[in-house]
Symmetry: C2
Subunit: 654 residues, 2 copies
Amino acid sequence: MKATNKNIDLKSFKVNDGFFSPIRKLVKDVVLPYQHDILEDNVEGAAKSHAIENFRIAAGDENGTFYGMVFQDSDVAKWIEACAYSLALYPDAKLEKTVDDIIDIIGRAQLDDGYLNTYFTVKEPEHKWQNLHECHELYCAGHMIEAAVAYYEATGKDKLLNIMIRMSDLMYKVFITDKNPELAGAIPGHPEIELALMRLYHLTGNDKYLELTKLFIDNRGNEPNFFETETKRRGWEHFHMNYNDKEYAQNHLPVRKQTKAAGHAVRAVYLYTGMADLAGATDEKELFDACETLFDNIAEKQSYITGAIGSTHHGEAFTTDYDLPNDTIYAETCAAIGLIFFADKMLTLKPSGKYADLMERALYNGVLSGMQLDGSRFFYVNPLEVNPGISGVYGNYRHVLPERPKWFGCACCPPNVSRLLTSLGKYVIHHNDDTIYSNLFVGGKADIPLASGNVTLTVTTDYPTGGVVKYTFDEVSDSEITLAIRIPWFTYDEDGKTSCVLTHNGKTLDVNNITNDGYAYISDIFKSGDEIILSMELTPVKMYANTSVRYDVNNVAIMRGPIVYCFEGADNTDGALQEYGITADAKIKEGAPMDIIPGTTVIPLIIDGYTKKLSGKLYSTVAPVTTPATLTAIPYYTWGNRGLNQMRVWMHLF
Amino acid sequence: MKATNKNIDLKSFKVNDGFFSPIRKLVKDVVLPYQHDILEDNVEGAAKSHAIENFRIAAGDENGTFYGMVFQDSDVAKWIEACAYSLALYPDAKLEKTVDDIIDIIGRAQLDDGYLNTYFTVKEPEHKWQNLHECHELYCAGHMIEAAVAYYEATGKDKLLNIMIRMSDLMYKVFITDKNPELAGAIPGHPEIELALMRLYHLTGNDKYLELTKLFIDNRGNEPNFFETETKRRGWEHFHMNYNDKEYAQNHLPVRKQTKAAGHAVRAVYLYTGMADLAGATDEKELFDACETLFDNIAEKQSYITGAIGSTHHGEAFTTDYDLPNDTIYAETCAAIGLIFFADKMLTLKPSGKYADLMERALYNGVLSGMQLDGSRFFYVNPLEVNPGISGVYGNYRHVLPERPKWFGCACCPPNVSRLLTSLGKYVIHHNDDTIYSNLFVGGKADIPLASGNVTLTVTTDYPTGGVVKYTFDEVSDSEITLAIRIPWFTYDEDGKTSCVLTHNGKTLDVNNITNDGYAYISDIFKSGDEIILSMELTPVKMYANTSVRYDVNNVAIMRGPIVYCFEGADNTDGALQEYGITADAKIKEGAPMDIIPGTTVIPLIIDGYTKKLSGKLYSTVAPVTTPATLTAIPYYTWGNRGLNQMRVWMHLF
């Protein structure tokens, strides 16, 4: 299963999109500077970060001690990575200077042998490589490798890259060359190094990084349990993690035998991403098949309608098939982002609509909801139901905050959102020798190096507001090439026929005939000026969950195209949200445009429904009183922007 | 608010009831011997108890060390109390000898100054009275006082009573006479001593015990926080409890200011029981009003339809009004039992139907469900929904076991069920100078000492199978007396008119005219042979929850009389239970009698309904397929007796 498809180079797709460009601008102008202030502890009222200061202390620039989580370094790494993606398209000398200065500090924080990790350098220098289970050494290295690769690709500057090559070479020595028996069977507690080393391998072509990735992936799930051996030898603990909880770190079975997404959701999808990348690089069908099985399990049994994953805060984890509670959910922003990484990697191996469909679902819903519309606050947990006074307060709901906080002590999610949004372009278009894949409908101009020559393609669309996507060829190849356009899941009828219309220079194509596995393939010797237009009807629809999902039975959700809608108390004031319901035949209309916050206007959906109310007694033989009521829905990603109020995605079916 | 009504003396009401007599016989013949075996560690596969052995070690009869929870002694106490109630009506020389022998051990385990607690005597003798917050010293004393009072009342033997009088006198010295500044403001972490000292006060008339009760009740919720002072002074911890979590132990406000049931549910209702008893003894309206407010809050905002309480396993606690999840519920058996104690005590102060209605609801549902029908296994948690493969397995559901285990390491519930069921008679009838209150419809023969003379009354009923209760006077008084019969909640229409029929020697009474606050008052100079007959129609009804209970909206439960029904997978095999639904107008029929286990026959309820199924995709625009289906419901208290299967009380309303 050789990976034949590649992401478009970030610099080669200039996003110009009504929906995403303002968000990217927000990230560039507001979020990245804000996050820098956070990392430097300049934001009052936000949880302390100390992340850059840790590097300064490790570098000897400042006195002091390490503060924060054992993986605090990764916050800096993800922020640098996000800056790199932003700089790739939007040069910004001031930002670049800030990053360069931080890279200088990082360089000084690196030890002579290449070792880089401020927690161990400053706090426990005698404990290096002794607690892979709990201490995120390889995880932090992975994130810094990603940052290094991204910064090199964006700016051509190789200082951070060389730092991380030295660190990677040290890891190769420690885990392979040294043949240290104590590290036989070693695996990281939190996968990330695997996908990162693969990026370094793709950039450098150095087989050592592929070999090290394969070692970590092949070791996972083997007996004896490395975490147990390591814990017993070492005699000290950091988080008091239970090495017998093997599922938590996907260590319960060899990865090729795993069939159900399990354990900590972020760890899982980061691991699967690395596995998919490795399968593509080594042309290994067994590993690819395992990845596809795991992806299908997530897509069809363990993901929320928003593309979120992780059903429980106990271990921030998957639980089991169809167990998808809405109000005690975990649904970490990072997990939805990791799912996009995984789906993207699968698309490079096999262009199937299912991967792009779920990638899109996660992007427009479970990821975007992680950030306040003004870029200043972030969710870690992205619930499908919140109830003020309970969510964020009591027992099982304590982690489900009803409003986004400014920052988190464990701040993995905010910089992850930044790097995903700034690198969005690379997910939009894939290509191989002679085919261009349009995975996501995001406007912009792409320069694509096909085997027969460069092709320039402009994508124009008002998606997801509208359903028309126009592809205009500018520079073209002399040979026949193929434009493969994803035909999204919501355009198919029950018989699998799409209602999309595709035209080529005004001539309608037989879209169902040219569509295979979710992509319509249009092959031609295109001429400059050729126009392909995809037209989709973005009709609001009622969505039903598989009735094995017991939380959603007798409920209905609303979607329009890729956008999941939700209901907030702010718009629905005739009762508590759970008192509202919709009938199966209710019409869904578009309402007048409304501002969620100044500058963010949405078209709400209006549905005639009912409230059912029973008050007074706690239990009664008297049925609730049914009253006609109008329901107003807004896009899920815009929820929680208007102060504390109730929110639901799934509404009762009356 | 003087308590004018009294429980009937246990020996004066000989239960002879089609429903309860077999259960009481089971407790006598199976459960009490089984629990004795457990306490002596003679049951293979059950969690280790060591509870009697702890007393032997404390007595110096055996060598060894204390094993178990810090409150392990209370298991022995509750078992002795249950034996006492059983012996009160069913003399059993062998059982009495067993108890006497254990009491001898307990006597030898008591220290010279009266102190009795095996944990502290054996394990931490230097730590007595230093950790009232965590260490259950007063709790264990309370349970042993209850056992002592019960055993004296049942057998006339005063050995255990004198042991506990010495212990109580020691407590009076420690907490009052000594004026120890370190114990100023002292309160127990787990209320129980209050209600127990009140029992000792009622038996002995010794004001010291009333004074000590009042001290503990008045101290609660005051500043400074006693638990904080105590913890900081002592410098050691047992359970690492957080003294700032004041609600957990009802220590957040002075008790007279508390308006919402809060914190650990068992602690709460034990405390409220003591408060109500004290209010009645001291004729204090403010304290009574607080009790009534708290009771109303439970009854109308914080209890399950089964009479269970405790919405979350986090702190085994109440959460907030209307937060009543069915599948992550706590609903500890002990809490439902404690609610019966509280309701009973309120009835002695104010005979209002609301107290007896909730007492009955808890008894027939949330308490009885705690015990396997064969008496061999017990639930701690009594859920309203279980899903095999999830309940008892994952995160928020881990504590919700889908089948009863044999015993628990923390075994408060099983002996609590025993003592409640063996003492059932005393809740059935209350009386004051000239009125007999019939609170629960349990058959038997009552000898009641009214002011004008003894009255003998025989109650004959097939309740809750049938709805006819016959009261026959035998020995009568010469004066006018009153028989007050509870008119249950389920007989009233929306206008508050009851459909009950009451006859006096065949003559129909104007029941609505003589009913006040849930009791019908029939006053007469009764003659021997006089018959009062109460006839209730026990029609199965659909129950709806207040729509503030978001878990139950658009759902329906089934009750018949006091019995809540549930649906088990064993009887409903056309799909998963959540796929079933009932329409608002569905007829409910009685099915053919069926054996749940040999010897326990129930009349199932049969309802024509539907299944709605959607399989394949996880989310779809296609609505689930509706198919007619027949639903079978069985009494909730019989659930979980036929192996592992799904169970729900609330079913979808289609």
